[in-house]
Amino acid sequence: MRNSLKQMMRTPVRTVLFLGLMVFAALLMTLGASIWLKGTQTMAQYEDRFMTIGTVRQIPDSFEQQLIWNAETKDYDVRKRGQYSDYYTPEDLLFPGAEYLAEPEQRAFYISYQPDYLTTYVSMNPNAIGWAAFIAEFSPMEDAMLDESVPIQITKVIGGDPQLEGIVDYLCDHRNPNPKMIYKDKTYVAMLGHQATYIHGKVYEEKMQSKSEVYIGLEMVPYSLESEILLPDGSRPEDAYRDGPKIFEVTDGFYETEAGRRILNLAQTGQIYKYCQPVTGTNKTSLLMPFYNGQCFLTEGRDISEEEYADGSKVCLAPKTFMENNGLSLGDAVKVQLLYTDRRLNAGQRFTLDGGIGFYSGLVSPDGSSLEVFETSEYSVVGIYDVTFSGTDSIFDPGADELIVPLESIEARHGMNLVDCGPMTDATASFQIPNGGIDDFLKGWAEHGTDKLAFTFYDKGYSRLKEGIDNMKVISFVLLAAGVVLTALLLFFFSHLFITKQAQRTAIERSLGMGKAACRFSMLSGFALLVLVGSILGAVAGFRISEGVSAANAGETYYETTYTAGLTNAVNNVEVEEAAVSGMPALFCTLSIVAAGVGIAWVKMNRSLRREPMRLLAERAEE
């Protein structure tokens, strides 16, 4: 071996070139293999932390123009409203080949009547005057047509905040193109409230001219006594009060009339918004965007389990503020009394986190009778969640006091006392598909679905991460392939130089009495040692560089979904720590190169040894 090395070292350029190129080839191979492995491991390691959620939005078939009278402009306002020939359902999304980890659902939210609990609305507005639709008797300050703001005095609150009694405010039948006269010596009753219309007309002019006071507050408007309750299929039942009178003169025996009884029934439910708690039924917590995107997060307890979701256990996730406001703890039961169902919006759009409420005014049955609680049960709190304000008034915001329960736990989950009904929207319909399955899903949907449904996907940066890692893998494959090809070329070329071209040396050694095994060892040892040293140096360098690449990523990589591919959007990002660089590729490359080197050299050496030395040397003599 020493002689072999000595002879190699006497062709230093060739030897150093071989060694250097072997180092480079091994470096390429190791770097490629390390990056490939690291990418694969990183994806495998974090696959569970990613989740791909799709939301569904039905696109209107057309837009209908609605003309709404505006008493201030004495003209009709035009409003556009989407028209749907039919509502698609989650079942329509079960097309052949669709792969769901959580099947599509369209969530309703249910309102629980909670007179025994302190709601966010009450806790945040403890002394506020209840201006939201109340029922009261009033008398105008003067005879007037209700086509402009008319001063009235509230004489008696029948349903609503008693603090309103005696207050003088302004009333206009703002949306009625044919308003009635009201007279100051008479008493009227109506459901009153503020809408987004401002005081206008003579009162406003006088105040502006006197310059004593500029009053631009909201005027009150009378509400329809029409029931908000829809039929189970979402259609609106016949109701005489739909376009009927809104203001009634209080005469003797009025409250015994049908209109009077309806007013009294409405008065009963008129203030329940203060005691309402939204309850959302779902099949998986992460299908709810606030939970998926981290706006809602568990602070105590645990999530509802798959089994609990499947068998409809009476368990719930409750918001921290609600639990604190009511002195409740993890494991306590919350009594739920479901009163009505909303199948159009989500809880956050009706019950905002700052205590605002989008109330329903006509909470009586279509026949005018009182609305009854349709389901009562107790839910054990298994998890308490907190909420961060999105600050953007997102449609995905959770509702104040919103309880999350398994959909299966609600017997009347398809909705009783339906107050609103609408198509699937991003806020109410979602599903989960496998990570990386967006393209397949869209391809399948394009084949089997309709263009009336639009999808938005959220993958917490999975697409971008995968794209990045796939790109990295392509690069690593190129490096690996280049390394393999270069290694093969080097081994063939230099084994030709160091072995095949050294057939004379072998023949001399043989003629001097060296056995074939000794000749083989003599020739292979030097070559193999160079291959071994080159591959070790290259593998170590490749390993170090791949470590450096990993370190350059600062240990943590934030995959921001803002720029993620396709329809995916940013919600929040997954922090991904890249997998540690393994030494296995370096070891594997070294062993592979050495094995290949020895193998190639062995074959060539055997060819040399098969040649008869004397004949070979004689041939060379003739040359």
Binding site: Q7, R505, L512, G513, A518, E612, M614, L617, A618, A621
Partner: protein
């Protein structure tokens, strides 16, 4: 003087994938220490094949070849070449990447002679073939053909055997160097008691031999004995 090599009806057939070629036919002869033997003949007559058999690089396909009374097939032929028989060639065939001294030391390295001893003995052999010590550290390609052949003879001596086989040893040399080499070979036989067997076309070499064989179409005949 006893016979060191004896061939009895030796024949050799080259067998390739497609054909058989008879290179030697019923060759019978013997070689003794202290004599120079020349084997002459045309190219392809079988001289080198016979030399290859004598060197133990192959074995006869027919007949028997005895080395010091032992049939060559029964011998460790690697050990035979290492310790008993050496070959020199027309093209010298020194290790091009070893120095003159290292080339001569090489056979002793195979015999595991200690480094210091093999160096001293190598210098001794080089001195015997008349090579100045200024050349010991040179590479073979830095010295003349005659000098290279002398190094090859010194290397043959270094193996310690008593059989020297030479395949056209003067073929690449000028007449001056040719004379020196022939003189060395004769000296090795007559003074050092080697059996020197030279395959040659060269008449001068043949003239210097004690016994001359002629090889024709694989058959050996005594030309001068």
């Amino acid at each position: 003087m006893g016979k060191i090599i004896e061939a009895e009806n030796v024949g050799y057939v080259y067998q390739s994938k497609y054909q058989k070629t008879k290179a030697l036919t019923e060759v019978s002869c013997s070689f003794e220490r202290g004599k120079v033997y020349a084997i002459t003949g045309k190219s392809g007559s079988g001289k080198s094949t016979f030399l290859s058999l004598l060197a133990g690089l192959d074995v006869p396909t027919e007949g028997n070849l005895y080395i010091d009374g032992k049939e060559i097939r029964e011998m460790d032929r690697d050990a035979y070449r290492m310790n008993s028989a050496s070959v020199i060639y027309q093209a010298f065939h020194l290790f091009p990447l070893l120095t003159v001294l290292e080339n001569v030391m090489f056979p002793m390295e195979l015999q595991h002679v200690p480094k210091r001893e093999r160096k001293e003995r190598a210098q001794e052999f080089l001195a015997k073939v008349g090579l100045p010590d200024t050349l010991y550290g040179k590479m073979p390609n830095m010295i003349s053909g005659g000098e290279q052949q002398r190094v090859a003879i010194a290397r043959a001596m270094a193996s310690g055997g008593q059989i020297l086989l030479a395949d056209e040893p003067t073929g690449n040399l000028d007449s001056q160097n040719e004379a020196v080499i022939v003189e060395l070979l004769v000296k090795m036989a007559h003074e050092e008691n080697y059996a020197v067997i030279v395959v040659t076309h060269n008449a001068k070499v043949a003239e210097a031999a004690d016994v001359v064989y002629g090889m024709l179409d694989g058959r050996l005949e005594v030309v001068r004995g």
